[in-house]
């Protein structure tokens, strides 16, 4: 038996700036795919011309969320040093698992079993998809105990995945949903996006704290490493987009959206944006506003309800200074 001294996480005293904030925000927006009536999309789905692209987009997202659950967040949680931050990463991992499962929920609702099997087979043999999973997975797998540089790199990779690589996939449901097509599936995506944007900001914020502690030369070296990784992933992403979106004629718009999000990912980790500003399709942009679109009580659930903060009613509750 080993004789290590285990320390208990003490939430009574903040040890990490913002861990509590990220924790609260994540739990407040808990959701489950079963709450969204994806079955209402079935009618439109049946006569949809680009089923193939749509399915592949979702299959690709499933793979990324799987990697992010099984390796990404879990490894980062394992090697992070602050106990509260570890807890936050563990919670994030749980949400990644919900995301990965929610795509299956959509598949189950819209596709036949044979189609689903084919899709998962496609995921295994699509070179671009496997390339990005491997690239990111390797960085995750190379974290070393006590090596903050390797942890920072993993966090950087995680932000690239969540704030950048997901968006080639998010584009399509947002684009269609904004035009009234397959809206309930789009609602699932917007709920996932709401989570991913916290993850991107949170992991980016923790990464910046680590980065600050490196000496200048190390920082410069890591910056070069970071931009190179991004460019590498970007090249792959361009090819992936051409591959998946070929039939739809949307590739140029998807690519603009990818560049926009690449810039956002860089800003999350405290780096300068890399691509010049350009116009992104406004329908897609309006799909990622986080405020939650106007709630329609009669059609679907909507993304604006959350957990309550309980406080007791007291005598004071009955006093008004008016």
């Amino acid at each position: 038996m080993s004789s290590l001294t285990y320390e208990a996480v003490n939430w009574n005293k903040p040890t990490s700036e913002l861990a509590q904030v990220f924790w609260d925000q994540q739990w407040k927006q808990i959701w489950f795919p079963e709450e969204i009536a994806v079955s209402k999309d079935v009618k439109q789905w049946q006569s949809f011309e680009h089923q193939d692209t749509y399915k592949k987009v979702f299959a690709g997202l499933t793979l990324l969320d799987t990697v992010q659950t099984n390796i990404g967040m879990n490894h980062i949680a394992a090697y992070a040093t602050d106990l509260q931050e570890k807890a936050v990463f563990t919670v994030f991992a749980a949400f990644e698992a919900i995301h990965a499962k929610s795509y299956s929920y959509i598949f189950t609702t819209l596709c036949t079993n044979t189609e689903i099997d084919e899709l998962f087979a496609w995921v295994k043999k699509n070179e671009y998809l496997q390339y990005k999973a491997n690239k990111i997975g390797d960085i995750y797998n190379n974290i070393e105990e006590g090596n903050s540089e390797s942890l920072w790199k993993a966090m950087f990779a995680s932000v690239m995945l969540e704030s950048f690589l997901f968006y080639s996939g998010f584009f399509y449901p947002l684009y269609l949903g904004g035009q009234g097509f397959l809206r309930n599936s789009a609602e699932v995506i917007s709920l996932i996006l709401r989570d991913e944007s916290i993850h991107g900001v949170a992991v980016g914020f923790f990464a910046q704290n680590i980065f600050k502690q490196f000496p200048k030369e190390k920082q410069d070296e890591l910056k070069v490493w970071g931009y190179e990784l991004l460019l590498d992933l970007y090249q792959n992403e361009m090819q992936y987009t051409d591959d998946v979106y070929a039939e739809t004629g949307l590739s140029p718009e998807v690519k603009a959206y990818i560049r926009y999000n690449a810039n956002k990912a860089l800003m999350n980790v405290g780096f300068e944006a890399m691509f010049p500003e350009e116009e992104v399709n406004p329908i897609v942009m309006n799909g990622i506003r986080n405020e939650g679109s106007t709630y329609d009580f009669f059609s679907q659930k909507g993304s604006t309800y959350a957990k309550a903060k309980v406080a007791p009613i007291t005598d004071e509750t009955f006093h008004f200074n008016r």
Binding site: L18, V21, Q25, K28, Q29, F32, E35, G177, G178, Q179, G180, R183, S197, I198, V201, F205, E279, N281, P282, I283, M285, N286, G287, R289, N290, E291, G292, S293, T294, Y295, D296, F297, F298, S299, S303, T304, Y305, A306, K307, A308, K309, V310, A311, P312, I313, T314, D315, T317, F318, F320, R322
Partner: protein, 697 residues
């Protein structure tokens, strides 16, 4: 990709970075929408006569109402409507009209009606051959009056749903009544109605059946049956049926009822699509104030002991009597504050339940000697007396009581302030609503048909308050805004009473048991008899525009007339939440503050960007969003309006997620204290992460 959708979405293009709206893009989107979508689909007719003949011959319009008029008159009416040179002011209004309201060919490819055409058809249909009323209807609707969606949508069409869509049913504590009412729900939902059902009189879980204890299943399984009925029975699959179940807070099943809407409730008891509402008598608030427990009762005991249903007694008057009576079981004891906290939790997590403040409703109910108001409807603005039907075995005739159907219409406040003759506008609206009620006969739901025939109830409301205030430079929730709504609703009350009295006089008929009402005794008018006549500020006078200020003297004369001639309508005013119809008219909804200066609205059709009416880049500060309005000011405003409304007002409260349950409880208590009758949804805005981080870093 449709260019008009893109243009419409472009409105927000630079908003997040520069705060500037590109409003001209919306105008351009509207123009493109007509060029690319509407004009190419619009069926061309040589003239009005050919158009009408075609639409009648092809079975789109009913023939009967057209035949009531001379063709020359009809042509003149079309000209009258087109002479207003109406233009849709926003893409939202245009697309909403052509997507949902305009008559289209059966294959959906051709558009057969423009906006003016729909208005003329509604006018001809509702006026039923009365040419003067038809002309007045066009004038009113082209400017400031909007019938509710079912009337606007269905008037004159051959294949149509009902003209009214709001119903209330009372269920009795018997299997016959439960089955009968579920049948009514299926029928009303098929016709496209939203139905409220009161479950207060059903015995709770574990109550005796035929004297054997622990046999009854309580209200939740009945609520599930209702939910399934509404989702099965929808209007040709176009729209899901919708309903709400109400329960008194002193009912034995209240705890389960409250938690049934929580997203994490057990699937067996979770109500996914049925709305819920809780009826709260004042005694509950008083017990809560003193930090007491409340005792839950069974309506079964109450009926056995007193021969009255739980919904038929005033809990506030009877509470201590029930406590002391040994024949009344005390089902459960609960701390009032804890129970109310549970309600607040459920409201944060799901928006439900609605709340009805029982005594605030019944104390000022002008028909109190005819019966109690026991519940409300799906949007919590309808408050009318009901008598429970006794549903017997099949070999005996049922004794039908009174349930409720209500037909609604709304006045555009901004437009109304500019009309030359406000009295005439309200009178026209009342007459059109009256005809809707006369033309409605829901045969398969006898207690509704009976009530409609006896009571002639209508619900005239208002919308575009916030829009109007912005044009006048007045902040929503300010003293000026409260004074304005006070004067405006008083005028609505006065002229709707006057109109109802005139109609009673003309027809020589009043509503059922008018002579027992507070109108007949004159008590209703007490609040106006000693009203002080304050000097109104110049700004208020300007904001009122052409809306008359009602003096004490005017009220005194009207009181005499009403007592002499009676009223035709048992109920006149109610302010609904106004969804689609305010979009079409480019109005802000109801008397509520806007929720977003620029709404991003996900409708079944597409994501549409809707800048609020009269919004410019210069007046954004006036368009304070609902979440930023002080909730106490909002309640004060609604309370000022409520004084003049015989029924209710649909009031939504707006909170952000940093609110606690206690803070939410406090504003409800305040609303109750101010005489508010009901609270509809609690809407919550999640703070975004940027805000959270920004305020901490």
């Amino acid at each position: 990709m449709k260019t008009y959708l893109k243009l419409n979405n472009d409105v927000l293009n630079r908003y997040s970075t520069t705060g500037q709206l590109e409003l001209e893009k919306d105008r351009e989107a509207t123009r493109r929408y007509f060029l690319e979508y509407v004009n190419v689909r619009l069926r061309y007719f040589i003239d009005i006569e050919e158009k009408i003949r075609y639409l009648v011959d092809e079975g789109y319009y009913e023939k009967e109402f057209i035949d009531m008029y001379d063709m020359e008159f009809i042509k003149g009416l079309y000209k009258k409507a087109y002479d207003y040179h109406f233009r849709f002011p926003s893409f939202m209004s245009a697309s909403k009209f052509y997507d949902s309201y305009a008559m289209k060919s059966r294959d959906g490819k051709e558009i057969l009606e423009k906006y003016e055409d729909r208005i003329v058809i509604i006018a001809l249909y509702l006026a039923q051959g009365d040419t003067e009323l038809a002309e007045r209807a066009v004038e009113a609707m082209m400017v400031a009056y909007q019938p509710a969606t079912p009337t606007a949508l269905n008037s004159g069409k051959k294949a149509r749903g009902e003209l009214v869509s709001c119903f209330k049913l009372s269920m009795d504590d018997s299997m016959n009544s439960i089955a009968e009412n579920i049948g009514y729900c299926l029928e009303l939902s098929r016709l496209g109605g939203g139905v409220g059902v009161n479950l207060t009189d059903l015995r709770p879980l574990g109550d005796p059946i035929k004297g054997i204890m622990n046999r009854a299943s309580g209200v939740i399984p009945v609520a599930k049956l209702l939910e399934n009925s509404f989702s099965y029975s929808n209007q040709l699959g176009q729209r899901n049926g919708s309903g709400v179940a109400y329960l008194n807070i002193f009912h034995g099943d209240i705890e389960n009822f409250i938690s049934s809407k929580k997203p994490n409730a057990d699937d067996k008891i979770r109500l996914a699509t049925l709305s819920t509402g809780v009826i709260i008598p004042s005694i509950f608030f008083e017990l809560m104030k003193r930090d007491k427990d409340i005792v839950l009762f069974s309506p079964y005991d109450i009926f056995k002991e007193y021969g009255k249903r739980l919904s038929e007694i005033s809990m506030t008057e009877m509470y201590y009597e029930l406590l002391d009576n040994p024949n009344i079981r005390k089902i459960k004891r609960l701390n009032a504050r804890k129970l109310y906290t549970e309600i607040k939790k459920a409201q944060f997590e799901s928006g439900y339940p609605f709340e009805i403040f029982d005594d605030n409703v019944n104390e000022v109910h002008p028909l109190k000697s005819i019966g109690r108001v026991k519940m409300s409807n799906l949007c919590t603005e309808i408050f009318q007396v009901q008598h429970t039907s006794v549903i017997t075995d099949q070999d005996e005739p049922n004794q039908y009581g009174l349930d409720v159907s209500c037909n609604l219409g709304s006045i555009d406040i901004h437009a109304a302030s500019q009309v030359m003759d406000f009295e005439r506008l309200i009178d026209t609206a009342m007459r059109l609503l009256t005809n809707v009620s006369l033309m409605t006969d829901i045969k398969n739901v006898p207690p509704v048909a009976k009530a409609n025939q006896f009571m002639h109830s209508v619900g005239l409301g208002a919308m575009n308050l916030h829009g109007h205030l912005v044009t006048q430079g007045i902040m929503y929730g300010s003293k000026d805004s409260i004074d304005f709504i006070d004067c405006f609703m008083e005028a609505m009350n006065y002229y709707s009473l006057k109109s109802s009295m005139e109609i009673a006089k003309e027809r020589g008929e009043t509503f059922y048991r008018f002579e027992d009402s507070d109108y007949a005794s004159g008590i209703y008018f007490d609040q106006y008899m000693d009203k002080e006549e304050n000097e109104l500020s110049p700004r208020l006078l300007k904001t009122l525009g052409n809306i008359p200020i009602i003096t004490q003297k005017m009220w005194k004369i009207l009181k005499q007339d009403v007592m002499q001639y009676g009223l035709y309508h048992s109920y006149r005013l109610a302010i609904p939440p106004t969804g689609s119809i305010s979009y079409i008219r480019s109005c802000t909804a109801s008397i509520a503050p806007c929720t977003e200066r620029v709404e991003v609205r996900d409708y079944a059709d597409s994501r549409t960007i809707y800048p609020m009416p009269h919004l410019t880049n210069e007046n954004t500060h006036l368009y304070v969003e609902a979440y930023d309005v002080n909730p106490y000011d909002l309640i004060d405003l609604y309370a000022a309006a409520q004084k003049h409304v015989d029924q209710g007002i649909s009031m939504t409260l707006y909170v952000t997620d940093n609110w606690t349950t206690e803070r939410l409880a406090k504003i409800y208590i305040y609303a109750w204290m101010k005489g508010i009758k009901s609270v509809y949804y609690v809407r919550q805005r999640l703070q975004t992460l940027e805000e959270c981080v920004a305020c901490q870093v």
